[in-house]
């Protein structure tokens, strides 16, 4: 779908933009002064309240320093004051683009501690909605990344699909961002009548429109010129930072919780994973696009498998997790989301640690930016996918 020959010209080890035409550095009379450029907290490229301080020599970045915490809302503390069933209304807010996946993680970890059997139908529906949520999230990033590189159209294309999917999810959950559809032990409600037909239609429609994105963005010469070889992240560095999700898969590491540690019913469906070669911006974006395609593939399989039955279990009047700690990770759209739930046997969690993908992903940004140009910084910021709420929590 795209011509990757340009990538081969880039030697895997070279620093990005090394052979640059205008090089204005020097000593004595020709020395240029360094400049500190603060991108953010409110800047178009940070899509959220996030700041990155760049030390510039000309337009070349000599050092980068992310400043986070502007959106810290203390969810981990708040969760300690909530019933186990109430936490889900908190967690679908930290990564506001993947609300369903977040609450799914909490539901799973609580169920794990309660050793609760969740009905099959609920698990399949959870998978269905989670995959739609993934498509929704990735479409947003397809649009916003292209927008950051100056292409305004993919954003509108992405929102065309997003709107329809939003309506679909709204029909089932009643929400557009904060679904609160999961419950401990299952789901709030069963799917509404006609949902599956619409879901099938939308999946088909989106699959038909996907080649547009591959052609318009991935196949675009200028897009390739802006992303190929920009910000390569070697796999061992990515792992050391804890980078996960499409950013890690772009580096060629086959790690996806749905495959390597299947939860729900992911072991009963075929989950393809696209792997990149160089871990550069182009690969990261390609992985994102392929994840949309493969999510739709999974959705199609769920349509065929969805069993009948109840969607929730009767909960005791008092939900008390036994003393101990449990860890559950799921593959969030942006990467691996982990919840560490520790209970002292009471009605509220003793400690709920949210291991969010954006936090670890953003940590790798200073490493990626050093020695790059300002426009490349935008390319990297856009392709190391993060949501600011997910960093700060």
């Amino acid at each position: 779908m795209s011509d990757l020959s340009t990538r081969e010209k880039i030697h895997p080890g070279t620093a990005p933009g090394e052979d640059i035409a205008l090089e204005i550095v020097g000593d004595g009379d020709f020395a240029t002064t360094d400049m500190t450029l603060s991108i953010g907290p409110a800047h178009p490229a940070t899509h959220g309240v996030f700041r990155i301080v760049l030390e510039l020599n000309g337009e070349r970045i000599t050092a980068a320093r992310p400043v986070i915490g502007y959106m810290h809302r203390g969810f981990e503390k708040l969760a300690e004051y909530r019933d186990f069933r109430q936490i889900k209304a908190l967690v679908n807010r930290h990564d506001w683009l993947s609300g369903f996946s977040n609450e799914l993680g909490v539901a799973l970890v609580v169920e794990k501690m309660l050793e609760m059997e969740v009905p099959d139908r609920a698990q399949w529906i959870r998978m269905l909605i989670a995959e739609w949520n993934r498509v929704l999230n990735h479409l947003m990033f397809v649009g916003s990344f292209a927008l950051e590189l100056g292409a305004i159209t993919p954003m509108f294309y992405a929102f065309r699909e997003r709107d329809e999917i939003q309506y679909l999810l709204e029909a089932a959950t009643g929400g557009r961002l904060h679904f609160t559809y999961n419950q401990v032990g299952g789901l709030k409600l069963d799917l509404p009548k006609g949902f599956l037909a619409e879901s099938v239609r939308l999946s088909k429609l989106t699959q038909e429109r996907l080649p547009d994105y591959f052609d318009l963005v991935l196949g675009n010469e200028i897009f390739q010129a802006r992303t190929v070889g920009v910000g390569p992240l070697p796999p061992e560095v990515a792992l050391s930072f804890g980078v996960t999700g499409p950013t890690l898969q772009a580096a060629g590491v086959p790690e996806d919780s749905r495959v390597t540690e299947p939860y729900l019913k992911y072991d009963e469906v075929d989950v393809p994973v696209h792997l990149g070669e160089n871990g550069d911006s182009f690969d990261r974006f390609a992985c994102l696009l392929y994840r949309i395609q493969y999510s739709l593939h999974i959705i199609d399989q769920i349509h065929d498998h969805l069993p009948a039955g109840p969607v929730n279990t009767k909960l005791p009047k008092m939900v008390k997790a036994p003393e101990g700690a449990a860890y559950q990770r799921i593959e969030n759209p942006l990467g691996q989301l982990g919840y560490w739930l520790e209970s002292d046997g009471g009605r509220t969690p003793w400690r709920l640690k949210m291991r969010t993908p954006s936090f670890s992903n953003v940590q790798s940004i200073p490493y990626l930016l050093e020695g790059m140009l300002v426009p490349d910084a935008i390319s990297v910021l856009g392709s190391v996918f993060f949501v600011v709420g997910d960093i700060d929590r």
Partner: protein, 275 residues
């Protein structure tokens, strides 16, 4: 992906992992537990860095993905620091856990940023939330998530939510209520008694307390007045009724007298007034 899963045959099970760790760390491995499918290894703080290095470098372990590092409040004994590691080659997860020396007053632990890059921000966050100082970390300050001049360590249990101190959580599911057996859940503070180091916290609590006290005083005053008014009204009512009753009796007596005296002389007006 299939290739990755195939390599998992060589993965060590928890017992083997613990044996391997004990072989290198000896006494510093304090124990281990498998909870809800997660293998947790408890370490002495002296073996913390070495264990992390071992987990990364030992080919049989190969925990290459640094998942997370965070603190847990361990009540009066201080704090625990937990590191979650994952191996992309074996598919195993290892949780390292240690109790930070120094208690609640001066918790200090060695940093593992030398081993895992991702530990940098995670340790900064732990410092920010619990005040655990990591020796060897390139720079814990400025605070990563809270504002720079923030006072106190938010995730410690003795740091109470300012909003919760000022206003109890509405709703019947409130954890601060009595549970079914009628016992108060102890760690949720009473209104206003938050000993949190955060001044605003105290001020807000005091303010809220004052407001509530004021409301209570006013309410009592109102109730007292209302009671007084009610008492007076009742008194008046009683008097009125007594008067009416007396009048009615007098009228009846008069009527009877009139009937009786119908043939006699009419009664004088002075007699009527006296009644």
């Amino acid at each position: 992906m299939a290739g990755v899963l195939a390599r998992r045959d060589r993965a060590l099970n928890p017992e083997e992992t613990e044996a391997l760790l004990r072989e290198h760390l000896g006494e510093q491995v304090l124990g281990s537990v498998v909870e809800f499918g997660t293998f947790t290894c408890k370490l002495a703080p002296e073996g913390w860095v070495e264990a992390a290095r071992l987990a990364r470098d030992e080919p049989q372990l190969a925990y290459d993905l640094f998942d997370s590092l965070f603190g847990v409040d361990a009540r009066e004994e201080g704090f625990d620091v937990v590191a979650v590691l994952y191996s992309t080659s074996t598919g195993n997860r290892l949780v390292l856990r240690t109790r930070v020396p120094g208690g609640r007053d001066a918790p200090r632990l060695a940093s593992i940023t030398e081993i895992y890059r991702g530990a940098d921000w995670m340790e900064r966050e732990t410092y920010d939330m619990f005040g655990v100082v990591f020796d060897g970390h390139p720079g814990l300050e400025p605070r990563i998530l809270t504002v720079e001049n923030f006072e106190g360590w938010p995730l410690r249990k003795d740091f109470h939510l300012a909003s919760r101190a000022a206003k109890p959580w509405p709703g019947v599911k409130e954890p601060a209520e009595l549970d079914e057996d009628g016992n108060v859940i102890e760690r949720v503070p009473e209104i206003g008694d938050a000993p949190g180091p955060y001044e605003l916290d105290k001020a807000m609590a005091a303010q809220a307390k004052a407001v509530i006290e004021q409301e209570r005083v006013e309410r009592e005053e109102r109730e007292r007045k209302a009671a007084e008014r009610a008492a007076k009204a009742a008194e008046r009512q009683a008097r009125k009724e007594a008067k009416a009753r007396a009048a009615a009796e007098a009228a009846a007596a008069k009527a009877a007298a009139a009937e009786a005296d119908a043939d006699q002389q009419p009664a004088s007006s002075d007699e009527e007034d006296g009644a």
